[in-house]
Amino acid sequence: MSETTEDQNVRVAAICDQLITLEGPLLPILHEVQEEFGYIPDGALQTIAKKLNLSRAEVHGVASFYHDFREEKAGKHVIKICRAEACQAMGADALGDQIRRHLKVDWSQTTADRKITLEPVFCLGLCACAPAAMIDGKVVGRVNADRILEKVGS
């Protein structure tokens, strides 16, 4: 059912080959790997390390530094709610509480049915239409809990 590690390595290696000529290719490679698989598979670290002449630990260090890179697949839908000050001024804390209660998850968790991942985000640049959220990559402003939940069918 799932692809073999061998297949995965081939795909990761192909991404590396495509981007290796960039100046500072590691972040673009990690983004592309996440785009391809939905997360950074553990096995990809070794393949990337070999291609870039780095240690696996170095690649792991970079991947784990950035909030964007996932160690496991996200749920079917990803809700990112802005928790920064401009959105706080318009009730983002209460919004976050409502959503967490409804979905029965905390920040950066996925619901038990793997349907929805809830993530905090610190500013989407939508500070004049707060509170703001990003649902499956689409931005929404002046949002409330009902609208967010409706968009993910929950």
């Binding site: 960039l22 100046e23 500072g24 290719p25 590691l26 972040l27 673009p28 990690l30 983004h31 870039l52 260090g61 970079v62 530094f65 950035y66 909030h67 964007d68 890179f69 802005c82 920064a84 000050e85 401009a86 959105c87 706080q88 001024a89 318009m90 985000v121 610190f122 500013c123 989407l124 640049g125 939508l126 500070c127 004049a128 239409c129 707060a130 703001a132 990003m134 990559g137 689409k138 931005v139 929404v140 402003g141 002046r142």
Partner: protein, 518 residues
């Protein structure tokens, strides 16, 4: 001839439904047999009117807003395609008071042009600054930028011309222009707006920076939270390459310059220039100790200009109209214009570009129109999550680098976040520490450990455990972070904390009731 209808592609407008409005207009027009051409423009930055739809008429562009899909039928009935009256009718765009009272130099074309049309850009005097720069020596360009008084708009306020001169004089086969578009401060969206609405002005500014310093390669490092800005920038770069604006032979001058967009990965600290450079190099976004300055040893150890988006976007108008023209705006040592971003709990939120010198009160109450909730303003945070909270008593502070510093604040990237009287300032102080803890790169101890201790101290204060002692401890901790941190994240987190403590002491009294656990 088809009628031009403008519906912004700006993320803020899209977040309020602009995509659906654009489709609804297109569908209705095709059903009605009207010949309509929809242009997806940038936003003028009046977010309480977004999605704002404009129609080109013989008397100029007229605006309607805020438009929702439910309004489309009525708009067609009111004959909005010829500028007909409707309850959402706002008159000519250029006459809207919020826009008319601004001094738009940096954002002069944002909203007006099709963002990825180089013809539109040229038709509105775009590339004139670059053409002038091509006739000047590198020294003359640097002098013009220095004389204009332009200072770094990312927050540090360092004179742009001086930075450029350091790179110009540095030895190196390869130099770089890095545009810091990692706009992570809450309350700020100027970088996003201009990248989405007028990307060519950034490209033009970066090429001029390249000519002035001898750099031939530019990078725009922006945020993964800004997908539309990335798409528009990439498209504009493609158009600029095809037109010979970028490439081996910029406008036939024999000078080479090219630009690449790089995407961050959700780390706030990468807005700090040295951690940004590390991130671009494919490393953890950890802050570097200075010296060496990035101007001498920057990206891949080579001489590098790192400038904020707005700094670079202000360069073309300086080269187009001259240093004096730009310098004549502003006050004191803060010259030129500043795109103020008014956000949070405010009635008229948006972007307002004006010469330095308006008071905070004018910005919040007159331009912003007070709170959106209609309640009294209690606090205004200026300059992002590392900026101070100002009470109403300090509303006479002029918007100026030095004047804000005098009152223990900073203008940062010029974000102004308004809070009404329901805000709990102790909670805001705790959040500042919590945010610092989440985003700390971990390199220096005052930031990495201090921020965690900071949240604990505020928690104790909230529980009423020896409150006087906790306040003393919090102030002492802030001193340590301020003077002991490597970069502005740890170094400036004390600003929101101390300002909250100083100006709103009543909020730091122990709570009688247990606040609901977070």
């Amino acid at each position: 001839m088809s009628i031009k209808v403008y519906v912004p592609l700006d993320s803020g407008s899209v977040a309020l439904g602009a995509d659906d409005v654009a489709s609804a207009i297109a569908a209705k027009a095709s059903k009605a047999g009207s010949d309509v051409k929809i242009v997806r423009n940038g936003s003028f930055g009046m977010y309480w009117l977004e999605p704002m739809v404009e129609v080109e008429t013989p008397r100029g562009r007229v605006a309607y807003g805020p438009v929702s899909t439910d309004d489309i039928d009525a708009l067609f009935e009111a004959d909005f395609l010829t500028g007909g009256l409707h309850k959402l009718y706002l008159g000519r765009t250029q006459d809207i008071p919020f826009l008319k009272s601004q001094s738009r130099l940096t954002f002069q074309r944002c909203g007006i042009v099709d963002p990825v049309s180089l013809e539109d850009y040229r038709a509105n005097d775009g590339l004139t600054g670059l053409e002038n720069a091509l006739k000047m020596t590198d020294e003359e360009i640097v002098k013009a930028v220095t004389d204009s008084g332009l200072r770094g708009r990312g927050g540090a306020g360092f004179p742009t011309g001086i930075k450029w001169n350091t790179v110009r004089e540095a030895d190196g086969d390869q130099k770089y222009i890095v545009c810091n578009a990692d706009e992570g401060d809450s309350g700020t969206f100027a970088d996003r707006m201009i990248m989405e609405g007028e990307p060519f002005v950034l490209i033009e500014g970066m090429i001029i920076a390249g000519l002035a310093t001898g750099a031939t390669k530019g990078y725009v490092y922006t945020r993964s939270e800004y997908p539309t800005a990335i798409d528009v920038m990439n498209e504009a770069i493609k158009v600029a390459r095809a037109a010979g604006v970028l490439g081996d032979n910029v406008l036939g001058s024999g000078n080479a310059f090219d630009i690449e967009v790089r995407m961050g990965a959700g780390a706030y600290v990468c807005g700090e220039e040295t951690s940004l450079l590390n991130s671009m190099e494919g490393k953890r976004g950890v802050v570097r100790a200075k010296p060496p300055l990035p101007a001498l040893e920057g990206f891949l150890g080579r001489p590098t200009v790192v400038n904020n988006v707005i700094s670079l976007c202000s360069v073309p108008v300086i080269l187009e109209k001259g240093a004096e023209y730009y310098r004549d705006y502003g006050m004191g040592r803060s010259r030129g214009t500043i795109p103020i971003q008014i956000a949070g709990n405010v009635k008229h939120g948006g972007l307002y570009e004006v010469g330095f010198g308006l008071t905070l009160g004018e910005i919040v109450e007159q331009i912003g129109g007070g709170t959106a909730t209609g309640r009294p303003v209690k606090a205004v945070q200026v300059g992002g999550p590392l900026g101070a909270y100002f009470p109403k008593e300090l509303f006479d502070t002029p918007f100026d680098y030095e004047e804000f510093a005098k009152r223990d604040g900073l203008i940062g990237h010029a974000g102004v976040v308004v809070f009404d009287d329901t805000v709990d300032m102790m909670k805001q102080a705790r959040f500042a520490m919590e945010f610092c803890a989440i985003e700390s790169c971990g390199k220096c101890t005052p930031c990495r450990i201090g921020s965690i201790r900071g949240t604990e101290v505020v928690d104790k204060l909230e529980r009423g455990e020896q409150p006087e002692l906790q306040i003393e401890l919090l102030r002492d901790l802030c001193e340590t972070m301020k003077f002991g941190s490597l970069c502005a994240l740890g170094g400036f987190t004390p600003y929101p904390v101390l300002s909250a403590l100083t100006h709103f002491p009543d909020d730091f009294k122990p709570r009688a009731l247990d606040i609901a656990a977070e």
